[in-house]
Assembly symmetry: C2
Homo-oligomer: 345 residues x 2
Amino acid sequence: MKYEAVTIKDIAKALGLSTSTVSRALRDSHEISAKTKSLVRNYAKDLNYRPNPIALSLKEKRSHSIGVVVCEIANSFFSQIINGIESIAYDKGYNVIISQSHESYSREVLDVDYLASRSIDGLLISVSTETNNFGHLQKLHEQGLPIVFFDRIINEIQTHKVTVDNFSGAYDATRHLAAEGYRRIANVSGSDYLTNTRERIAGYREALHDSRLPYDEQLIKYCIHGGKQYEEVEEVLDQLFALPEPPDALFSSADKITSHCMRYLKMKELKVPEEVGIVGFSNQAMTELLNPPLTIVKQPAFEMGRIAIEMLLQLIESKKPVKQFEHKVLPTELIIRDSSTGKIK
Amino acid sequence: MKYEAVTIKDIAKALGLSTSTVSRALRDSHEISAKTKSLVRNYAKDLNYRPNPIALSLKEKRSHSIGVVVCEIANSFFSQIINGIESIAYDKGYNVIISQSHESYSREVLDVDYLASRSIDGLLISVSTETNNFGHLQKLHEQGLPIVFFDRIINEIQTHKVTVDNFSGAYDATRHLAAEGYRRIANVSGSDYLTNTRERIAGYREALHDSRLPYDEQLIKYCIHGGKQYEEVEEVLDQLFALPEPPDALFSSADKITSHCMRYLKMKELKVPEEVGIVGFSNQAMTELLNPPLTIVKQPAFEMGRIAIEMLLQLIESKKPVKQFEHKVLPTELIIRDSSTGKIK
DNA sequence: GTGAAAGCGCTAACAA
DNA sequence: TTGTTAGCGCTTTCAC
């Protein structure tokens, strides 16, 4: 059951006017007399008239909704991004419709299709860790749907993008570990489909090089599912620590993975930072209260969300097709705490 | 700019049929010949025809969108709830439109108004910590908008509700602290406008009584802003520890407040659990990795979201007005860890 | 300054 | 079995 809203027709009938007059009066058209205008507007206010946004959408072919696809809402990094998105969208009168891929490619395809079929005005997406094929997005992009990528982007699609400086984030973290005396720094990364992962590994490599540390491929591990389950991370860590020369430090390149690494170290009773140092990408709350306080690479998530939606609105509201695209790269912040600063020399 | 979607009209024209025939063929109406049907459907598939949901909404007076209002998305408890909501909504073909009140009453009113004006089919809301007036919701409720309350409810509005057993959650936590030998158990709560808070305080009181511990009003502190800022919690804790007989344990009754309490104890270098024990409501990740591992009252957040949306869909999809309302109460779980189990006897 | 009518995409009652 | 028409709520051209 649903209540019946007041329509322009109701007002017109009650006031003995035509719907067009009412419409114009409400939109403050200059061709309506002051008297009629105030009559209509007062009456509308009394009845708490609200224009039906669906009717408007049908007319304007604009839904004032934007779709957002992330892997998980319940991941601090992404919820902070959504927070940033929502903060702007709300002010500009746009709805935010959220979907989660749960790191599944097929679910992402469904999400995107579903959103597209709901006539969104634009799409904000951070692809799933499994995504290495982008036909589903390419298709929509070619049809003219405004899309902005954030965090996990598809380089092949020409549109606005916003990421952090993954290379530097990883570089700084690794350099820091090296400076603290760690020599066997392992890299626990997400899926290597992601540009993120590749850039972070590049930064890590460069830092090893600049620290005159050898690059050992055995120390790089990928979590194809992005560390969704603890077991995935556990497995690669088991491999790492079973190495003849096990790592003395971990650099983890994603929120989820970082948490699982901490959990692992605790369960295995490995002393942090004496036996194993750790630095990870993380936007979790309370990392400073962990045991030991965790050194993190923090991303400006809220800011990223803000920028992404602003870029999208620019695309949506631009009169002429946008041909010049921007890729904004935000800085990360290395916050040094105890987890990485106590190697036994 | 926006791409032009294929419409029924396009198909009708191309095939030399009327729009109604096409419409009926697509909806698999029995009154259409098999031949026409397959003709239309194949052609539609080729063109990747998608019914325009806005047109459908206008016709059916149903938007297939539901509004959700929470205080903060970037709060684990709420993001887990949203996760639960989304999981069901998606399957049933409903959009989830999210708004945040940021714990502000006036913002909540705006959010609710905005959502209502966007012709949502129903509303899921957990009120802000400042909300002690419910006219904005009452109005919509009277107009027939289906509403379901979760977590922070308004008792005065007759509709479905889902909460946890706040009384028992608080009772168990307090009993546990008492059993561990803590004698001056302070209660750091949210706003006393919230039924949550009142129930948790009642549980706390009963537990004190059952543990033969005196009830001391000085030990109860409210955070009217729900502990949104650290400073708010800091202030009440300063008061508590400045007492002639300061507390030897804290029971915190909200996620945000719990985190701030931990932060405070760390900053003041109070030894947990020896000098001060602590138990808090929390759905944060990694509480077991804190220093010390935190004893928590955990809420079934995902479940709560699932149930809330199911109740709402029942309301929305019910043919006749629903008169019998349900208030589901879910159990909490006390997870005992080191933060509450080490009092110096 | 105001009204009539068409149209956005779709469905459904009514005709044929 | 298929087509015609009206209508959901709104805006906007075209008349008056």
